[in-house]
């Protein structure tokens, strides 16, 4: 293992933890929302990305988070994903792909009247788990689903 790379990764994680602390403590939510969360999006592992984006990697699987994605995606460049939740007080929703080089694909910060129901289309390099993380009442809940990506494009 390349020592420099390890060092860099640790440094990035530490910096992102500090960033979260600052945004939680000093800045108003509005100001914190305005900046693109670079640390979270460039994190190379799922837990690192969740920590940087949502403040903690302590998420539990919940039946109240629904992740809708195809079982088999014929074209990995366009995978439709819908995340809905029946939880009350959902603040934000994150979508991650476990094997992508940068797992965090999108985060959605919801306004007070916005329903926990977002859809988008994502890219996937290969067969992987799609993970939805929902933040409600300061806690994290998740759902995951494996999506098979067929490369041939013949719909096997």
């Amino acid at each position: 293992m390349n020592q420099n790379r390890r060092f860099l990764l640790k440094g990035t994680l530490a910096a992102s933890a500090a960033g979260v602390a600052i945004s939680a403590g000093l800045l108003t939510p509005k100001a914190a929302m305005a900046a693109w969360a670079k640390d979270a999006f460039t994190a190379t592992d799922v837990n690192g990305a969740v920590t940087a984006a949502m403040g903690s990697a302590d998420y539990t699987e919940s039946g109240e988070v629904k992740l809708k994605a195809p079982d088999i995606a014929e074209n990995g460049a366009v995978v439709p994903v819908t995340v809905t939740s029946s939880l009350a007080g959902v603040e934000s929703i994150g979508i991650l792909v476990s094997t992508n080089a940068q797992p965090l694909t999108a985060t959605f910060n919801l306004g007070a009247n916005t329903e926990a129901d977002v859809s988008t289309r994502i890219k996937m390099g290969k067969t992987a788990d799609v993970i939805a993380v929902v933040k409600a009442g300061g806690k994290l809940y998740s759902a995951r689903k494996q999506v098979k990506v067929t490369i041939g494009g013949c719909g096997g």
Binding site: A34, V78, T107, N113, V118, S119
Partner: protein, 104 residues
Amino acid sequence: MANSIKVRAKVKDGVASIKCLISHPMETGVRKDKKTGEKIPAHFIQEVNCESGGKSVLNAQWNGSISRNPFLSFAFKGAKAGDTIKISWVDNKGESDSTEATLK
């Protein structure tokens, strides 16, 4: 980049459902040009904001792993027909666009 956003906004029982399509290449920065073998520089939307009546409805932050010509749909309560919403995006090169739509 005028008119890069297509919006459909409908209200039913006080809930507005918004669907939008944005024209954008969404390059990850990892893909290579097949002819030259050189990397295509990253070019993707980082933030999409939606406001209604001066209040933020949705702030989406995206990575390059969102599909080309991104699609986004969401819903919010407390809306009525005739309200206007404003949708805007900013990409990693600082380019941006915005549009306004009226709820039907």
